[in-house]
Structure formats: structure tokens, C-alpha cells
């Protein structure tokens, strides 16, 4: 006997597997937070936010929040201790920047040495726009060449030649 299958069963299975993925994914990502205790969910949120802004210097494409490197663990502890000691987010960021440089920040600060980074793209777009506009304008301002009698004669000749060719061609139909 064929068991009746609920029409929504495949969808339900898919949803269940997606949900469990989310669930276990969440567990795997939260490993670093479990060893830290917080007074309030807000403080935990602040910590999570802070370590997400900081780069792990060993595995440079990971934040402190995502990195398994030992150095990242040390720095997470440091950030945690500083937070528990009541230091503000800016104080903690300044502390790390003073030791490891701007590179620990995922978001590069705006200062003279990073002007090129921040404004370079806009300057390039500006230059591009000027070039495009100038090209377009210069085309418009080129005066039309007056048509000379010789041109007309040539045009007539070409048009007539074309018509003759049309007439002489055997019909397709």
C-alpha cells in the first residue's frame, strides 16, 4: 500500500533542515560568547558588536568575533576585561589602535593618510564625468559641414544606383 504523503511534507522537510542549519550555525558561531558572562543582554550585544569591528591580525580576513586564532582569543579576553572594568567603546578601540595600528579596525578612520582611500574613487568618478561631458559637448559644437553641389551629385548617383540595383534583381517570390 502506498502511504499517503502530505502535500506539504517536502516543504516541511526543507524548512526543518534549513531551520536546524540556522540553529546549529548559531551554536557554532556563539562559541566565543559562551565563555564570557555578561550583566545584561545589552552588554553582551555591545561586546559582540565591538569584536565584530576589530580585525584579527593573524587571519586578516576575519574579525575578532569570527577568528579561532589564539591571538584573537587573547584580544577578545582583553576587550572583555576592559569592558568589565567600565571602559567605553572608544577607549577600548583607542587602546587597540595605539598598539596594533589602524589595521585592527575594519572601518578605516578618516585622516590625511587615508584621504586617498576615501576620496580617490570620487575623484576618479569626477574625472570620468568631466571627460565624458567634454567629449559629448565637443561633438555637439562641431558645426555641420555644408553640403556642396558635388556631395549632392554623389548622393543622387548613389541613390539612383541603389534603385537600379533593386529593379534589376530577380524577384524572390
Amino acid at each position: 500500500m502506498i502511504r499517503p504523503t502530505h502535500p506539504l511534507l517536502p516543504t516541511a522537510l526543507l524548512l526543518a533542515s534549513l531551520l536546524s542549519g540556522l540553529l546549529f550555525g548559531g551554536v557554532a558561531a556563539a562559541y566565543t560568547l559562551e565563555e564570557f558572562e555578561f550583566d545584561s543582554p545589552a552588554q553582551q550585544e555591545q561586546f559582540r558588536d565591538l569584536i565584530g569591528k576589530l580585525r584579527c591580525l593573524v587571519c586578516q580576513n576575519e574579525s575578532l568575533a569570527g577568528s579561532q586564532a589564539e591571538l584573537a582569543q587573547d584580544l577578545r579576553n582583553e576587550v572583555y576585561e576592559m569592558m568589565r572594568a567600565g571602559q567605553s567603546e572608544d577607549e577600548i578601540l583607542d587602546f587597540l589602535v595605539a598598539r596594533y595600528g589602524d589595521f585592527v579596525l575594519y572601518d578605516p578612520p578618516l585622516k590625511p593618510s587615508t584621504y586617498l582611500l576615501w576620496f580617490g574613487p570620487f575623484v576618479l568618478i569626477g574625472i570620468g564625468a568631466v571627460v565624458v561631458i567634454r567629449t559629448l559637448l565637443s561633438k555637439k559644437t562641431t558645426p555641420d559641414q555644408p553640403v556642396t553641389d558635388a556631395d549632392r551629385a554623389r548622393i543622387d548617383e548613389l541613390l539612383n544606383a541603389d534603385q537600379t540595383a533593386d529593379r534589376d534583381r530577380p524577384s524572390d517570390s
Binding site: 589564539e70 591571538l71 598598539r99 596594533y100
Partner: protein, 179 residues
């Protein structure tokens, strides 16, 4: 503008971009410049690896030129540079101070027993307390500290003959001249 060479402009821009990218590729992204260059050494106090009862403090780095070498027994590049450090340890112009970083004292001591000890003194920093203060993010790293206790240079990666001859030696000669 003469029209004859205008077509070269895109080519020139392309060439400039290629040069820029080639330079970019040649750089090692792992070498992050230290913001501590030109700053005084951070205050610290560590037990000495070879004599846990004694303490190494920041003042021990003042009054003479020091190479501060961050190393650990688990670090294979440190073994690579060990021989170079042994040779440098005979140079009277500076002291070599070790920072034994995130290591186990027994492992570290047995490495020194086997391969020799190039260090005048070694701070033992298993928990990375001083390492963070110095912005250490890997081993080996070598700082050059002048007589006034100002960090003048940081070398990331093993010290070898080339690094010594091209960078460290001229710098130390300059520091010596400055007094």
C-alpha cells in the same frame, strides 16, 4: 593638444595601473606597520624565564641599545633565526632581550638548552600580557629600542644576514652615533 599622441593616454594610464598593482602584489600584507615606532616602550614587569625569581622591567631597556626579540618554542621561524641571534649576541653594541611569548617555560628552556641562549635576559609572558602592550601579533618579531627607551624599528619575521646588513646594522650604527 596634438592629436597624434592622444591615443597614448589610455595606454599610459593602463601602464601606471599595472605598475601600481605589481607593487601592491609584491608587498606582504602580513607586515602591518607598528604605530609604536617613535614611541617610548610600554611599562612592563615580567618574571625572567631563566630565573623566575628575578623581574625584567622596562627600565632594563634604557641606558643601552636593545634588540627585543619575540620568540616561542612552538615557533619554527624562530628556530630559523636562532643562529643569526647567536652570532649577534656577541656584538657588544647592544643587548638582546627575549620576550618569550605565549609559551611554556619548560619547552622554552629546553629549546635554549639544545640550541644555546643568545639572550642577555628573557621576559616570560605566557599569557600575552606584555605582548598586547607591544602590539605583538606573531613570532618572531624584533624591536630595536634606543638608549632612551624609544622604539625605533620593528622587524616582522626572522632576522637573517640580509635583514641585519641592510636594516639593523645601519640603524644600530646610527643610534650609537646619536648616543
Amino acid at each position: 593638444m596634438a592629436k597624434s599622441w592622444r591615443f597614448l593616454i589610455p595606454l599610459i594610464i593602463f601602464g601606471a595601473l599595472v605598475i601600481l598593482l605589481v607593487i601592491g602584489l609584491g608587498k606582504d600584507p602580513r607586515k602591518v606597520p607598528s604605530p609604536l615606532i617613535g614611541k617610548p616602550i610600554p611599562e612592563f614587569s615580567l618574571p625572567e624565564l631563566t630565573d623566575i625569581g628575578r623581574t625584567l622591567v622596562d627600565d632594563d631597556l634604557r641606558g643601552q641599545i636593545s634588540l627585543v626579540n619575540v620568540w616561542a618554542s612552538w615557533c619554527s621561524s624562530c628556530r630559523q633565526e636562532h643562529q643569526a641571534l647567536m652570532v649577534l649576541s656577541e656584538n657588544p653594541d647592544f643587548q638582546i632581550v627575549g620576550l618569550n611569548w605565549k609559551d611554556d617555560a619548560q619547552d622554552a628552556l629546553s629549546v635554549l638548552r639544545m640550541t644555546g641562549n643568545p639572550y642577555d635576559r628573557i621576559g616570560y609572558d605566557p599569557d600575552n600580557d606584555v605582548g598586547i602592550e607591544w602590539g605583538v601579533y606573531g613570532a618572531p618579531e624584533t624591536f630595536v629600542v634606543d638608549q632612551q627607551g624609544i622604539i625605533r624599528y620593528k622587524h616582522i619575521g626572522p632576522v637573517d644576514r640580509k635583514v641585519w646588513e641592510e636594516t639593523l646594522q645601519p640603524l644600530i650604527a646610527q643610534l650609537k652615533a646619536e648616543g
